[in-house]
């Protein structure tokens, strides 16, 4: 499991953050949690993250802004957005800018697995070295 890709979770809600982490881990992946976008960007795990699960609404940088920042930095980390609001416009917007998926809380486990698989595939495709 050393080779297991790291999945980073950014959510300001602790309950959701920890629950998501537990679920991801139960699926056999390594999971790291961050309570804000700033914390994630400032960590050493940006480069090792194979998939990012990010909440859309957060104090400070939002999930959307986080994605924009990553793209601007040239980091093509596949992102799965999670939101407690359902805004279809937002969904269309983030998917266009390269998000893997968009999940509404409470999210469906199968959809998450599906998105994680797709994310890891695209990550692996992009970075064959890893």
């Amino acid at each position: 499991l050393q080779q297991a890709p790291v999945i980073s979770i950014v959510d300001d809600d602790e309950g959701v953050r920890e629950a998501t982490k537990s679920l991801v881990r139960s699926l056999g992946y390594s999971a790291l949690t961050f309570c804000s976008a700033e914390e994630f960007l400032g960590s050493a795990h940006v480069t090792s993250t194979a998939c990012l699960i990010a909440d859309v609404q957060m104090p400070g940088l939002s999930g959307i802004e986080l994605q924009e920042r990553l793209i601007a930095d040239g980091r093509r980390i596949p992102v799965i957005f999670v939101t407690a609001f359902s805004e279809e416009k937002l969904q269309g917007h983030v998917l266009k800018s390269g998000a893997i998926g968009y999940l509404r809380k409470p999210f469906d486990e199968d959809r998450l697995i599906e998105f994680i698989d797709a994310a890891l595939k695209s990550y692996g495709g992009q970075n064959p070295a890893q």
Binding site: A19, S22, G60, F85, R104
Partner: protein
């Protein structure tokens, strides 16, 4: 130079008009008296007495003219002969003897004789007492004047006064006049009206004449009460009735008029107002004035003989309005130029000012009442419109708030739900593994429990906001309210990238109020603060919510933002209804907030933030009783 040129044409004409008597006497007697100035005194001799006000008025007018003369002053003596009651040779002789003695020390400049009978007496007296004193006559009818033609050193004025005129006047007013009733002393015994006797046959030829002269008053009153129709009463004068009772003629007229069944015509103005209709009456005053003018001319040196006798037009049609009403005579039927006396002033004539004022006041009141009614109606309809609008607005506000709340609730409930679902899935996974990880599964289960509790708390806080407090106010801890509100909008604020700084003072005195309403107020202020920071991108979006004890006995909650602040020009308006700077706001929020706070005896105001933005402050009075109670102290420390 020719004589005609000197005296002028008009003078020649006048000279030619001189009556024969004057021309004769002037030529005969002009010379002896002309040179000596006359004594500056006048003796008036009246044929009647004070019982006949007409003579009194005449004398007064005479005196007034004399006294206003620039050539005065003059002494005026006056004697009343009362010839209607007293006459005869003996009477005349004794009066003459009396005058002779009485005026022994008085020199008389002019004798003025009023009435034709007085002229006769005066001429006799003059011959005996005042020879060569000029005599001016007045109130003499034409017939009598003609008989004076041979008297020397005499002038005077003639007045028109005939029975014919009186009858004609009656006929004008009563065109179907068939008879006249003659009332008065017997004409042959009268002084003033004696010439009527000569006219009677002519009048009797045209109209039936009922002769009621010389009757006793009682008989007369009986007769005038039962006169046939189409009759007019012609009243001359009663000084002495058939029963030997003497009267003032006007009083006698009154007694007759009281019972008369037919209208009464008179011919001197002083008889008006005593029950007569009126007629072509002779006014006393002009007669007196004319006599005085003549007397003054004589006193100023003119010879009486050289002054022509004047014919005065002293009669005027004058009527008593009350009698016209009584006999149903239309004013249109009166001769042109008629004067109407004793007209009852109409209400308008009498009270026009008052009527105008009252009418104006009533008009003003009416206008005022109409205006007030109009204003009231307008206000009512405006109030109705306003009420409907307010209701609509409140409703839409409620709908909008409900929409926002739904989103907030969805967010707040979705978070723990998401945690629960993810934990449950994770737990199932941990158990489903070939080597079930019970610790991980247990942790996931625990997380489900805590997420479930959190969801319950969210629901609880929402219920707190919507709980109907009813009319009862309760002790409210504003810290709790703030926390409930922030808990509700947390997601919203996060979604907008707003950092929340909370500084709550504990313990905070309780306030008395409706917690639901206070929550709405704080919620509104928090939302406004969040909205104010929408456009902020160059600095942190910070929401600062503080609670504090506000000296001396108040509680302060402030909601500050780092937004754009309040434009100074809007400071005065932000609490107005419908004032908004938001593109999609209704502007009801702050005005409702202020209403709620003021209903709680508090204040809501805005101030500038430390750096950027603005601060909204709520100050509410602390609930003293509770603050001092030990229960509250305990509750406060427990927190």
């Amino acid at each position: 130079m020719d004589l005609t040129e000197l005296v002028g044409v008009s003078a020649i004409k006048r000279l030619s008009l001189l009556s024969a008597l004057c021309l004769v006497v002037s030529t005969q007697l002009a010379s002896p008296v002309a040179t000596q100035p006359l004594p500056r005194s006048v003796l008036i001799i009246n044929q009647s007495g004070p019982s006949r006000p007409w003579y009194v008025a005449l004398d007064n007018s005479f005196r007034a003219t004399m006294i206003s003369s620039p050539s005065g002053p003059y002494s005026v003596y006056e004697e009343d002969l009362d010839l209607n009651l007293f006459n005869g040779v003996n009477y005349e002789e004794s009066v003459q003897a009396f005058f002779k003695k009485k005026y022994r020390d008085k020199s008389i400049g002019v004798i003025v004789a009023v009435g034709s009978s007085a002229v006769e007496y005066a001429l006799h007296f003059r011959a005996e007492i005042w020879p060569d004193v000029p005599l001016v006559f007045a109130a003499v009818d034409e017939t009598s004047a003609a008989q004076l033609k041979l008297a020397p050193n005499v002038t005077g004025s003639i007045m028109q006064m005939t029975l014919r005129e009186m009858v004609t006047e009656a006929q004008v007013l009563f065109p179907d006049l068939k008879r006249i009733a003659l009332v008065g002393d017997p004409l042959e015994r009268q002084t003033f009206y004696r010439p009527f006797k000569d006219e009677l046959p002519k009048v009797a030829a045209e109209l039936e004449v009922i002769d009621l002269t010389g009757l006793s008053m009682s008989e007369l009153r009986r007769r005038v009460a039962t006169l046939p129709t189409s009759t007019a009463i012609v009243y001359t004068a009663i000084y002495l009735d058939g029963a030997g009772v003497s009267y003032a003629p006007a009083d006698a007229l009154g007694l007759v008029a009281e019972v008369a069944n037919r209208p009464i015509f008179v011919d001197i103005d002083s008889d008006l107002g005593r029950g007569a209709v009126g007629g072509l009456v002779i006014a006393a005053a002009p007669v007196g004035e004319e006599a005085a003018r003549l007397a003054l001319r004589v006193l100023n040196g003119e010879s009486a003989s050289s002054i022509p006798v004047t014919v005065g037009l002293f009669d005027r049609p004058i009527f008593d309005w009350r009698q016209l009403q009584r006999w149903g005579i239309s004013e249109a039927r009166l001769p042109p130029g008629s004067e109407i006396r004793f007209r009852d002033p109409t209400a308008w004539e009498q009270y026009s000012t008052q009527i105008m004022l009252i009418a104006a006041a009533m008009l003003f009141q009416t206008i005022l009442i109409i205006a007030l009614f109009y204003e009231r109606r307008r206000r009512r309809s405006a109030e109705t419109v306003s009420r409907i609008t307010m209701a609509k607005l409140a409703d839409s506000n409620r709908v909008a708030t409900a929409g926002e709340l739904t989103a907030a609730i969805a967010h707040e409930v979705n978070q723990p739900l998401a945690a629960m679902v993810a934990n449950a899935n994770a737990g199932l996974r941990w158990l489903a593994n070939k080597a079930p990880d019970l610790d991980e599964a247990r942790a996931a289960m625990k997380n489900i429990v805590s997420a479930g509790h959190r969801a319950g708390e969210v629901i609880g806080s929402i219920r707190a906001i919507f709980r109907n407090d009813g009319q009862e106010r309760t002790a409210v801890d504003l810290n709790e309210v703030v926390q409930d509100v922030l808990g509700l909008v947390r997601g919203e604020l996060q979604a907008q990238g707003i950092l929340v700084h909370i500084e709550l003072t504990r313990p905070l005195p309780l306030v008395l109020g409706h917690s639901g309403q206070l929550q709405q107020v704080i919620l509104n202020l928090v939302r406004n603060a969040a909205d104010a920071m929408n456009s902020v991108s160059d600095r942190a979006r910070v929401l600062r919510v503080k609670s504090a004890i506000h000296d001396p006995d108040g509680v302060l909650v402030s909601v500050g933002d780092s937004g754009t602040g309040i434009d100074p020009k809007n400071v005065d308006h932000i609490f107005d209804s419908f004032f908004t700077t938001k593109a999609q706001g209704m502007g009801m929020g702050l005005s409702i907030c202020r209403s709620i706070i003021e209903a709680h005896d508090g204040r809501l105001w805005a101030s500038s933030g430390d750096g950027h933005g603005s601060v909204f402050n709520i100050q509410l009075p602390a609930w003293r009783e509770l603050r001092r109670s030990p229960r509250h102290a305990a509750a406060a420390t427990r927190r």
